[in-house]
Amino acid sequence: MPKKMSIKKAAGTKAKPTQPAMSPKEMFALVKRDDVQPSVGMTRAGEIQFQNDKAMQKVKKSLLSFIEMAGTASGQSTYYDSKAGQQKAVIQLHDSLLDANRGLYAAMLTFPGVNDVHKQLGIMRLVGSGIGKGECSLMTPEQENRLVGFLIESLPIHRLLKLFGHMRDNRVNNSRARKIILTTVLNGGSLEFWSVKYRHKMRTALVHALGRGRASALRAILSKSNMDEKELAFFDSAVGQFVRDPVMRKSAVLKECVCFVLGGASASGYTVDLIRRYYDARGSLDSGQGLPRETLEGIRATYHKETPKGKVLELAKTAMSEGDRMRVQKAAKEAGIEVEFDPTKQDIVSLFVYALEMGMTDAIREAIFKKAADIARSLPMSYNRVGIVLDASMSMFGSKEAKRRPLAIALAMREVLGRMSRDATYEKVAGGAEASGCLVYPQGDTSLAEALVEVVEKEPDAVFIITDGYENAPAGRVNEVVKAMRGFGVSTPMYQVTSVIDAGAGSVRSLSDEMIPMPVSRPAGIGLAMVRAALEADLPQGIKALIGLAKPVIEGKKGGQPHGSGDVPKGGSK
């Protein structure tokens, strides 16, 4: 008897085996906050007050989790967690802390070690949602404004432009948002370069800030060869008033760049060098020398398909930012082109990521050592003798999205922590294969316990275990060892430095409750761990200390790193 086929045509889309990651729009979407009851506030006498005990516990949990996440999770997948899981956990924490107290939330975003994704999410929330009905904040609106300005300045331009895109997607276009967008885009000091490099993202930002009608009118008048007085006044009120430099405000560069970004065609032809090259390169790729690499590659792929990609590297190498120069090393090597980069201009983690892939050089090693020493000097703690255990097992390799990054952070931490000792550093690598210089390649199982005991035997003042929190030789052995040591009187402080987060638990995966967790995504972020300790010891005092730490920012005494510093051609903007 023939068998009957029973496969039915499925309705709708097929369920995939993995949870889909959120779109950027979803990730940056704002929750309606009409009736917020902050769980923490400040009395007139300046004392921290909680709604009730339950609220206090909730705030404490949120703050501690936020500190752990702010230094590590970036919404990317890890070796163990899906992207969707990470994203959900990140968003929940931001919303819960914002609801607890807006000012406290804002203050948390200013600490060194908070990564860019969290700053973007924070700016989105602070700018996109006004103070709710009945909501109080530990900061005045003026202080919050200064703080937002600080955050904006600390972000690189490509992240800011992405953030402005998210603002457009989520319809955040209040006057504060519009002002932030226009002052940021028009005052970066590299307007010409940004205009050709980020033309579409800049257009999105400008059109969102100006409104479609104004942007369209502006494009029309800027495309004319001459503007009359009325049109000049319109230009000044729409754009000029947001430009701080009075010379730039009246310049042709500003007008041409805005016209170019908005998609206008200058009737008298462009005089700005990079924009001219942009158009000339369509005819001859060689004319585009000095244009950003991505722009030139776009022109090559459209107008000069037969030209090899390596030609773009050759033409663009003088215009590359230092970060770009390092990123293209592999492609340049394959194309047989020499692109020099200055390791001293890179951050220590990027140098390790690069060296793990491309190999270590004397110049990179020297730069790493200097940067590690600088970071160690900036930290508010030092020891006579430091013990370090480095987990170099296979899982430290990282995910497809963040290949080699957990290990690179771990190696950077090792260099920094090693320089926090005045006398000696005792170090043990668990798993992995030690390579020449300061590199270790991940390999093998995670046998941390033996390494820990060997380091403690040298009697250091503090021990740092740099690990992802997973052990298998066997699991739980580190906890047994630490408890045994405490049992016979070893009181050495032990810290677990972790660069990977378990999104499900909202916290770092802990090897032992006897160890102090220190989640980090970059070495400078270790300072956050100190804040965590203060909050754990005394929550109200810890919160006051937090606000105190943010004081230089909210009082306008501390500025961020100028954005885009890593995204201008070598030798500065033209």
Partner: protein
């Protein structure tokens, strides 16, 4: 049935030595390391996989080596297509294409065929593997649906999931992913002995180092990870008897000694369990061949699986504990022998 020469687990693992035991929760993994890495064979990541019709899996070997497809290899794809599995091992010669009509559908109500491409492989969950092995020679694409439905129902995945393996994998995605990080490949690894609650549930051996790295995530996540997860969900997370706790120590030096003792004691305990299996005779049955390379099925009272042999050399082997044996072990561990 063509009976070939019998063999033992020791024969299958010749050339390997045991690495350090990795232990998390109820699961333990003994890495099998070897100086022999037979690079004449490629892993399924070099295959372009498709389905020609329901129940027919096609492998296009793009490498210049003979490809060994592990038994119970499955493809759970994101295309609008019926996911498929191969219930037995496969051999595909270099630069050739081979279609297996003995494949099974593992996504009951999904229509559509898998278009050719490189798809990520999984290995069927442990509890499905014996069933798939038993039915490996039949030609009926529906034959695993009942077992998948039972798995879903026992694991607490929605009743409506039926014969949808994707529903199981989606439901436990996070739990299963964790196993990949918890059990890490070591240097020169070609295989592993997998234990749950102190009992051997699987023995895997592959031809070379890179082959192992390709199949290990699928073995540890979907196959053995799912068994460990279901065992812990059923009986709670218990540490097996083969995992030895540290004794009390009085100083750092004493602690070092205690650590060494615990590690050695664990090694001895797990070795005792493994050694009991090494010389049990397994009956062989010849299944298929490509030139001199042969696929045999093997079975003993407690284990069943397939090996790929090149003359006397076992280049690939995958053995799993029979469900009956696991039940028997469980009963015997609970109920001690009667004595007066």
């Amino acid at each position: 049935m063509k009976v070939t020469e019998n063999m033992t687990v020791a024969d299958m693992l010749r050339g390997c030595t045991a690495g350090r035991v990795q232990s998390v929760g109820c699961m333990q993994v003994i890495p099998l390391v070897s100086d022999i890495s037979d690079d004449r064979f490629s892993a399924p990541d070099d295959a372009e996989v498709s389905t020609k019709e329901y129940g027919t899996l096609v492998f296009k070997n793009t490498s210049d080596k003979t490809m060994i497809i592990p038994p119970q290899t499955a493809y759970v794809v994101s295309q609008m297509a019926q996911d498929h599995a191969l219930p037995h091992a496969g051999l595909v010669k270099a630069k050739t294409m081979k279609a297996y009509k003995t494949a099974v559908c593992i996504q009951q109500t999904q229509a559509g065929l898998i278009s050719s491409g490189k798809h990520q492989m999984v290995i069927l969950p442990f509890v499905l593997r014996e069933h798939a092995h038993t039915l490996r020679k039949e030609v009926d694409f529906r034959r695993l649906w009942g077992a998948i439905g039972k798995l879903n129902s026992e694991a607490g995945v929605s009743e409506a999931s039926g014969g949808h393996l994707d529903a199981f994998l989606k439901h436990f995605e996070k739990e299963l992913n964790a196993f990949v990080a918890e059990f890490e490949p070591v240097n020169k690894q070609v295989g592993a002995i997998i234990m749950i609650n102190g009992r051997v549930v699987g023995i895997e051996r592959t031809p070379n180092y890179s082959y192992w790295k390709v199949v290990w995530p699928a073995l540890i996540r979907e196959c053995y990870g799912s068994l460990a997860m279901m065992t812990e969900n059923k009986a709670g997370a218990k540490v097996p008897e083969t995992r030895v706790p540290l004794r009390k120590a009085s100083s750092v030096a004493d602690l070092k000694a205690a650590l060494a003792e615990a590690t050695e004691s664990e090694r001895v305990k797990t070795a005792e369990v493994v050694n009991r299996l090494l010389h049990v005779t397994m009956v062989g049955e010849s299944e298929s061949s490509e030139a001199d390379i042969r696929v045999d099925s093997v079975a003993s009272e407690g284990f069943v699986g397939q090996v790929v042999k090149d003359g006397p050399a076992v280049v690939y082997g995958s053995l799993i504990a029979k469900q009956e044996q696991l039940k028997k072990d469980e009963w015997e561990s609970k109920a001690k022998p009667f004595a007066m």
